[in-house]
């Protein structure tokens, strides 16, 4: 049920990853690139954690992370992360949420981003969601590619996704079909 929740997290995570990246101490710095669009900072084998009030709220990894100061652009390959929803939040019912994507592109200043390529989200509760691309824009996550999700008591495919990052809206759109598990008879 909450896979889309988890999907929503991926955008947040991308932003978190980007934000953290700006201050991160890289374990390995790549050689300075000469092309104009070369990143100002390129990290490989990145691992990061984001803290809030002394609590780890998100962790992330990426095989490679490039940052361009102009436009505050971020690009990560084979990125992944884990979010711990705030207790009592709408997402808390899902437990921790893990996501991976082949590529994450973000603009930190504009709070925009896109995760693409085998985007997968797993929630501790048992939800799994897969899609090819998710856009993050402010407080919203959108996908215009097929979304397949399954979890406790449901399995669904949709043509698109619309979600708020706080979990208040999680909606598969533009034609959905699937199965709902009905309770067994006593």
């Amino acid at each position: 049920m909450g896979s889309q929740n988890a999907s929503a997290i991926s955008g947040v995570m991308a932003l978190a990853l980007a934000t953290a990246c700006g201050n991160a101490v890289s374990p390995q710095i790549s050689p300075i690139s000469t092309p104009a669009d070369a990143p100002d900072l390129s990290l490989q084998g990145v691992a990061l954690a984001r803290l809030s009030e002394g609590r780890i709220v998100a962790r992330g990894t990426a095989d490679r992370l490039d940052y361009q100061r102009a436009g505050a652009r971020l690009q990560a390959s084979r990125g992944g992360g884990v979010i711990q929803p705030e207790p009592g939040s709408r997402l808390a019912a899902l437990g921790s949420v893990r996501f991976v994507a082949d590529r994450v592109d973000g603009e930190i200043a504009n709070r925009k981003g896109v995760a693409s390529g085998a985007v997968r989200v797993d929630a501790e509760r048992g939800d799994v969601a897969r899609t090819e691309r998710i856009y993050y824009d402010g407080d919203f996550l959108r996908s215009d590619t097929r979304v397949a999700a399954a979890g406790p008591g449901y399995r669904v495919e949709g043509s698109g996704l619309l979600a708020r990052t706080d979990g208040s809206v999680i909606q598969l759109t533009d034609g959905v079909k699937g199965q709902l598990q009905m309770e067994s008879r006593p």
């Binding site: 929740n5 048992g126 406790p152 008591g153 449901y154 959905v176 709902l180 009905m182 309770e183 008879r185």
Partner: protein, 300 residues
């Protein structure tokens, strides 16, 4: 009479996945429910339900979801998760089909654990069950999914085919406060303010049972607890009455009385033929007023 309707619920709804289609699906994990919007289709075996919106509510108890071993290929028919829907509500132009029978209403609730489907509507458009030309409506129609019973509050039944009449069949309309259809017993039990209308005949009784044969054809109506029959100027009463659907005669017993233009007849039993309007009184006694019948055909 309600024989065809008796056959409405064919078999119990088995547990397992419920297939759905819709325009959008909203997931509300905190409220443990899923909302489907736009051209909703739900199906499970021979049960199909459509409507404008649907809300699936999950059981409250939290059960640990089964974890699939890593790398194992996902089976397409795998049971979906460890939680299950305990109730779903369908709203707006609800249409139910099961086998050849259909039902319509504005609001439908399926209680999966209770194995019931309750249909309601509005005063203008009450819920209705159809089987061929026969219809059954009421304020609230409960279809049992695990047995073959139907429970109707304030039923209004219009039946045309079950009387097996020659020529043009006369529709029989039945109203009551409550109707319980017991398929296994081939029985329809009407209770509280039962009114049966057939042509110009109106029969009232506190309770009535309709019995059917194996083909769903009405064989008998049993009215109990005080019966009042009116047909034109004629009125008959009795404690109980049986209606033979094939012979189309109503037999009143239990201090039966016939009132007809001032005549009052009583006997051990009174037989009324609803079509020919002939009356047979067994061990008749009473008061006749010949002057009231002057001018009638055959009168002196």
């Amino acid at each position: 009479m309600t024989g065809a309707v008796l056959l409405l619920a064919a078999a119990a709804l088995p547990s397992g996945p419920l297939d759905f289609k819709a325009r959008d699906m909203r997931i509300e994990p905190q409220d443990r429910r899923v909302v489907l919007d736009g051209d909703v289709h739900l199906s499970r075996d021979d049960l199909n339900v459509t409507g404008e919106h649907a809300v699936a509510e999950y059981a409250k108890e939290q059960r640990a979801p089964p974890r699939r071993p890593r790398g194992r290929k996902e089976a397409s028919d795998a049971i979906v998760g460890g939680q299950s829907v305990e109730r779903f509500t369908v709203i707006g132009n609800v249409h139910v089909q099961r086998g050849s029978r259909t039902a319509d209403g504005e609001h439908g609730v399926v209680d999966v654990k209770g194995q019931t489907l309750v249909l309601t509507g509005t005063a203008q458009t009450p819920p209705i069950v159809r089987d061929g030309s026969e219809t059954l409506s009421g304020e609230r129609i409960l279809l049992r999914l695990d047995s073959e019973d139907v429970d109707v509050v304030r039923p209004k039944v219009v039946l045309r085919r079950s009387l097996a009449e020659e020529g043009q069949p006369v529709p029989v309309k039945v109203e009551a406060d409550h109707l319980l259809l017991l398929q296994a017993r081939r029985l329809a039990r009407f209770t509280d303010d039962v009114i049966v209308r057939r042509g110009d005949a109106v029969v009232r009784s506190p309770r009535m049972e309709a019995r059917y044969d194996g083909e769903g054809q009405l064989t008998k109506l049993e009215l109990r607890g005080g019966v009042d029959v009116r047909q034109g100027e004629r009125r008959a009463t009795g404690q109980n009455a049986d209606y033979d659907a094939k012979a189309r005669t109503l037999v009143l017993v239990g201090d039966p009385k016939l009132y007809d233009q001032g005549d009052v007849l009583t006997g051990d039993r009174i037989d009324l033929a609803l079509d020919s309007k002939e009356v047979h009184v067994e061990r008749a006694r009473g008061r006749l007023r010949p002057e009231a019948h002057k001018g009638e055909r055959g009168a002196p």
